[in-house]
Amino acid sequence: MKRHLPVAELARDSRFAHVTMRDRFNDPRSVRPPTEAEGGPGRRNVNRLTPARKDASDAARVLMHGIFVGEIQALEGAGRTCFDFETGDGVDQAPFALKLDMARQCWDEARHCEMSAKLSDWMGTEIGEFAENTVLFEAACSNDPVLRLAGVNRALEGLAIDVFTTMREFGEVATDPVLAFCEDWMLADEVTHVKMGSDWLRRLTEHDPARRAAALEFQRVVDKLFSYGGTRSDSDESPIGLARRFRELAGFTEDEVAEVAELSLSALGEAKERKEQLRREAAEAMLATAQG
C-alpha cells in the first residue's frame, strides 16, 4: 500500500463532487446584505445557525453533509498517520502509543461516518448532494506527525467541537430528539481527539522548541483556513460559534482559545474584503463587455 496518499487519490464514488478551497474563495457572491450606504437596511448581519432562521432546515442539512464528509476525511487522516510513519521515537517516526491513539480515533471516526450518514437520511439529504471540500484531508498530509496532530487534532477537531456544539444546540431548540442526542455523543469523542492532539504535541516536542513552534504555526494556518472565510467565529455573522468551554476541556489554554477567536474574526474580515474585491472586478468586467 502506498504511503503519503495525495488528496487526488482519495477513494470516492460517482456520488461525490469535489470543490477546492480556491473555488470557494473565488466565489464573488456574498451573504452580506447591502449596508445602509449601499441602499440596504443597514441591519447587523446575523448568520448564526439557529432554528429561527428562515432557511434553518436547509442550512442544517448543508452543515450536516459537511460534517459527514469531514468525518470520512478525519478517518482517512487518522488511518494514514497509523500507516505512513515507521514506529519509533525519531522525528520522522510515530511512537506506538500515538499510533494506538490514532487507531482508536479511526474507530470513533468510522462510527461518526455512520451516524452522520444516518442523520443525513433523517434530515432528507442524499450522500453527495453537496460538493465535498477536501481541505480537511490536506491538513493530514504533512511529513511530520506532529504537524498532523497540530493541523488535524488541534485545528480540525477543534473546529469539529465548535460545529457539534452549534448543531447540538440547534437540535435542542428545534426539539429534534435524534439530532441533539447524536451530536452530543460525537462531541464527547471530539473533545477526546483534541485532547490527544494537545497531549501528544506537548510530549513529542518537549525537548524540541523549534518543532513545537513549527507545529503551532501550522495549526494557526490551518485554523485560519478552517474558519472558512468567517464561517466560524465569536461574531453572530458566522454560522458556527466558538465553543470555548469544550476547547478548554480539550486541553486548550485560555490564551490559545483567545488566539483562535482572533484568527477567526480576522478570517471573517478578510473574507468580506475579498468578496468585495471580486464583485468590483466582476462589475468592471461586465461594464467592459457591455461597452464592447
Binding site: R29, S57, W122, G124, F130, A131, T175, R279, A282, T289
Partner: protein, 188 residues
C-alpha cells in the same frame, strides 16, 4: 404565455438564462399556469436561496442565485432545483388566484409553520406533476416548524397528498400540529 429572465447574461455565476427560461416555460405548462406571463429576476450577487413572488401582471419571481444552483457544482444551475424553487412559489401564486386563499396572510406575514405547511402542500403537488423531490427533506423542514411528533407527521402526510385545499384547511392542519406539540411539551 411569456417568460422573461433577468439578467440575460450573468457575471458572478455561470448560469444560462436560456436554461432558466426553458425550465420555467415547461413548468408553467405542467402545473396548469400556461396563460401566465412570468418574469424571473435572479439576484446573482447572493448565494442564498431566498425566493419571493411579486403578485401582479406579469407575475414576478425574485430569487437569490442559490435558489437555482446545483449544490454539487457551485455557481452552476440545476434544472430540477430551478423547477422546485419556481414551482413552490408559483403554486402559491396559483392558490392565491383561486379565490380559496383570499384570507391567507401576505407572504411576509406568514409564520414559519404556515410557510412550511404551504411548502409541503406545493412540493407534494410538484412531485405528482413529475418533478423529482426528496419527501424526507420536506418532512424534516415541516417537523422543525411543527415539532417532532406523530400529529405533525400525520398532518404532513395529509398536506403532501392534498389537492384543492383552501387556506382555512391548510392553516387548520398546521395549527393542529403546532398545538399538539405544545401540549406534549407542557405535559413533559
Amino acid at each position: 404565455m411569456s417568460v422573461t429572465v433577468s439578467p440575460e447574461q450573468f457575471s458572478l455565476v455561470l448560469f444560462e438564462s436560456a436554461e432558466i427560461h426553458r425550465v420555467a416555460t415547461e413548468l408553467l405548462e405542467r402545473i396548469g399556469m400556461a396563460e401566465v406571463d412570468l418574469v424571473v429576476d435572479v439576484d446573482e450577487t447572493s448565494p442564498l436561496a431566498r425566493i419571493e413572488v411579486l403578485y401582479g401582471d406579469p407575475l414576478t419571481v425574485k430569487g437569490d442565485s442559490g435558489s437555482f444552483e446545483d449544490p454539487r457544482h457551485p455557481r452552476h444551475t440545476d434544472a430540477d432545483i430551478i423547477a422546485t424553487s419556481l414551482g413552490r412559489v408559483l403554486l402559491r401564486a396559483r392558490d392565491r388566484a383561486s379565490g380559496t386563499f383570499d384570507d391567507a396572510p401576505a407572504d411576509m406575514a406568514l409564520t414559519l409553520a404556515q410557510s412550511a405547511a404551504w411548502d409541503t402542500y406545493s412540493v407534494g403537488r410538484l412531485t405528482r406533476a413529475g418533478y423529482p423531490t426528496n419527501r424526507q427533506r420536506w418532512l424534516y423542514n415541516y417537523r422543525n416548524r411543527h415539532g417532532f411528533s406523530d400529529v405533525a407527521d400525520e398532518t404532513f402526510d395529509r398536506l403532501w397528498q392534498a389537492d384543492g385545499l383552501s387556506w382555512a384547511e391548510l392553516d387548520a392542519a398546521s395549527a393542529a400540529a403546532v398545538s399538539a406539540t405544545a401540549a406534549a411539551a407542557s405535559a413533559r
